[in-house]
């Protein structure tokens, strides 16, 4: 910067002369304080006395800086501030409350430096004290906002878990002569509601329906569609004996729903008969289930259209049998599409695990989930749902079927 001539130059020189060392110190725009290394006040500027309301003779040589702090501030001073200053020679932007002479509290921000002599022995502490009243109020607001945000987040997570439990029955019902087991693992840390769901319910004497599906997306929006899909299928399965017709009804429901979301569903209707179960399977864009017989695993069913996209989806019923000792594995795409550095878990590996899995449904469902997770080093990239069914060999007594619902 350059200063011109005439009045401007004169003003510059006047200001320079007026702002002498004494003025710089006494009327600095912050309180300024010097203390012995143990904190006894040896000097302070006018700004400091004005801020605190004390007179010079009340402080100098009589009190320590810590004596002017609130009790909590004194503890903080002794446990944090003083050690920090002693160890590092400086302490910056420490928030404290000074108790003024009139008893009022003054929030301040404090910077200190510790001077040492040539032998390294501490000689004096210099402290700048800034009035931080407004800043502190603003910070308290921030803190409250942060606390509210944390509470909201905790609430949302709790809600997500509660909602999830209504979409994913923790344990499937007990079905006479049919061994049923399920596994579910949400993606990531499980704080968000996933789109996978499954359901197992009775529609008639000796007739059961198993549903597994995957609504696109996550969160509350997806959960609303999941709930809609689940209760629509429950109702539709009661008056349509054809699973494809039930899927068609869900398709219509989703198309009339305001949501843009679609889903994939596999629905299986089981009727007990002869040695095992007769089953009708319909797929709406869903991965084909695995049928395991005599240690041989194969995909079954006819892939159909996604549900909730086309007004006239291609959906068909596929008849199959689940003989004694055979298993059927339904799953969501989180299984074959489990990723590890770009490579997919894949259908081949799923078929192999399913073929090798032990002799009951629970073991099979567990083995598949464990293997997919192991492939992804324990962290599911996508939701994973697995339902395993098995027609067990005769084992004597069976429980009465529980009521539908």
């Amino acid at each position: 910067m350059t200063v011109g001539q005439g009045d401007a130059l004169e003003g510059f020189i006047d200001a320079l002369l007026d702002d002498n060392a004494g003025q710089l110190y006494e009327r600095a725009p912050c309180g300024y304080l010097s203390t012995t290394p143990d904190g006894t006040i040896i000097k302070a500027n006018q700004t400091f006395f004005a801020l605190t309301g004390y007179r010079r003779e009340e402080l100098v040589g009589r009190l320590r800086f810590a004596d002017l702090l609130s009790p909590g501030g004194q503890i903080y001073h002794e446990t944090h501030y003083a050690p920090l200053l002693r160890m590092h020679g400086t302490a910056r932007e420490i928030a404290l409350d000074v108790v003024r002479a009139d008893g009022e509290r003054l929030p301040v921000l404090v910077n200190s430096v510790l001077e040492r002599d040539e032998h390294g022995h501490p000689t004096v502490i210099r402290t700048a004290v800034f009035d931080a009243t407004q800043r502190r109020e603003y910070e308290r607001e921030l803190l409250r906002a942060k606390q509210r945000a944390e509470e909201s987040e905790a609430n949302a997570t709790r809600l997500a878990h509660t909602l999830q439990q209504t979409l994913i029955p923790p344990t499937p019902p007990v079905i006479p002569h049919l061994d049923v087991a399920a596994r579910y693992r949400p993606a990531g840390d499980g704080t968000e509601v996933g789109g996978d769901f499954y359901d197992v319910f009775q529609v008639d004497h000796g007739e059961w329906v198993v549903v597994i599906g995957d609504v696109c997306g996550k969160g509350v929006d997806a959960a609303v569609v999941t709930a809609l899909a689940r209760h629509t299928l429950r109702a539709a399965a009661l008056h349509h004996s054809s699973p494809a017709s039930a899927l068609k009804e869900l398709n219509d429901a989703l198309l009339t729903n305001e949501s843009e979301r679609f889903c994939t569903v596999a629905i299986l209707r089981l009727r007990e008969g002869g040695d095992g179960w007769r089953a009708t399977l319909a797929l709406g864009g869903h991965p084909r289930p695995v049928h395991v017989s005599d240690g041989q695993a194969a995909l079954v069913g006819t892939p159909g259209s996604l549900i909730g996209v086309l007004p006239e989806p291609e959906l068909s019923d596929h008849e199959l049998r689940l003989e004694i000792g055979e298993s059927l594995l339904l799953y969501t795409d989180g299984v074959p599409e489990g990723r590890d550095n770009g490579s997919f878990y894949g259908i081949d590996r799923l078929l192999r695990i399913a073929a090798e899995a032990g002799s009951d449904a629970d073991e099979m469902a567990g083995a598949v989930l464990d293997d997919v997770l192991a492939f992804q080093e324990g962290v599911a990239r996508d939701d994973i749902a697995v339902v395993a069914l098995r027609a067990p060999r005769l084992s004597g007594a069976t429980a009465e079927p529980p009521p539908a619902g």
Binding site: G73, Y76, E78, T79, P83, P107, R136
Partner: protein, 251 residues
């Protein structure tokens, strides 16, 4: 000699004192879980909901390192942590050095701890205010990375900082503790090192500790404040040395 730091900082609190004993003693330094470079994932709110959890840690260190005849040197709250550890396993300890001990910080009927309950809330607010800028800026540096020794220098820089939630919990546990009844049960030669003008542990409290413990002696330092180990390392070291030299005659 096992050195334990108090509330607020970490084992660096002993950097001017502990090395002076290194020629004659095996020196063991540690950070309490939640402080300094400890593994923050080991912080368990239940375990550390009273000072007993910290005392158990001290005993675990003794067992893990197979320490016997331990001279326990505890500053501030760790003084009482040492008392609790010695109460549980007296055979482990040869002596205790309590620097600025207080068995109870809050005043009670007839007992002057120096603080009221409201003062502790005030401290918690002070902690909160000073952690406002912490999370984003400091977290990556401090989040307990024992696997990253190259962070050592920065960690020393930040030695009085720790996770805000841990600090707040530790402050609450520390300043609401009441371990007065434990004092009389510890029959180990004990030195109480008392500062002259300490708002956190006043002289009357140091005297109370000394009177309650069967084998305690108090030395009042000229040093003021709560951290003579930092502000007066010579005087602190000399007092501990004199005490340790006397011990064989006592036992």
């Amino acid at each position: 000699m096992l050195f334990a730091h108090g509330f607020g900082c970490d084992q660096n609190m002993w950097r001017y004192v502990a090395p002076r004993f290194a020629d004659d003693y095996r020196i063991v330094l540690f950070d309490h879980v939640g402080a300094g470079r400890s593994d923050l994932t080991a912080y368990d709110r239940d375990r550390y909901s009273s000072l007993n959890g910290y005392a158990e840690d001290v005993l675990e260190i003794c067992r893990a390192l197979d320490l016997d005849d331990v001279i326990f040197v505890g500053h501030s709250v760790s003084a009482m942590i040492g008392v609790l550890a010695a109460e549980r396993d007296p055979g482990r300890f040869a002596s205790l050095v309590l620097v600025g001990p207080s068995p109870r910080y809050i005043n009670a009927d007839g007992y002057v701890g120096g603080f009221e309950v409201a003062d502790i809330d005030d401290l918690l607010r002070a902690l909160e205010s000073n952690y406002l800028g912490w999370s984003a800026a400091m977290a990556p540096v401090i989040m307990g990375r024992p696997d990253r020794p190259e962070l050592g220098e920065e960690l020393t820089e930040s030695f009085c900082r720790t996770d805000p939630e841990v600090a707040s919990h530790f402050a609450q546990v520390t300043f609401t503790s009441d371990n007065r009844d434990d004092l009389s049960r510890v029959d180990v030669p004990t030195l109480v090192l008392q500062c002259s003008d300490d708002v956190i542990a006043p002289v009357s409290v140091g005297r109370f500790v000394t009177d309650q413990m069967p084998r305690a002696t108090m030395v009042q330092l000229e040093a003021t404040g709560h951290c003579p180990n930092l502000s007066a390392p010579d005087e602190t070291t000399a007092a501990i040395e004199a005490f340790l030299n006397r011990i064989p005659a006592q036992t």
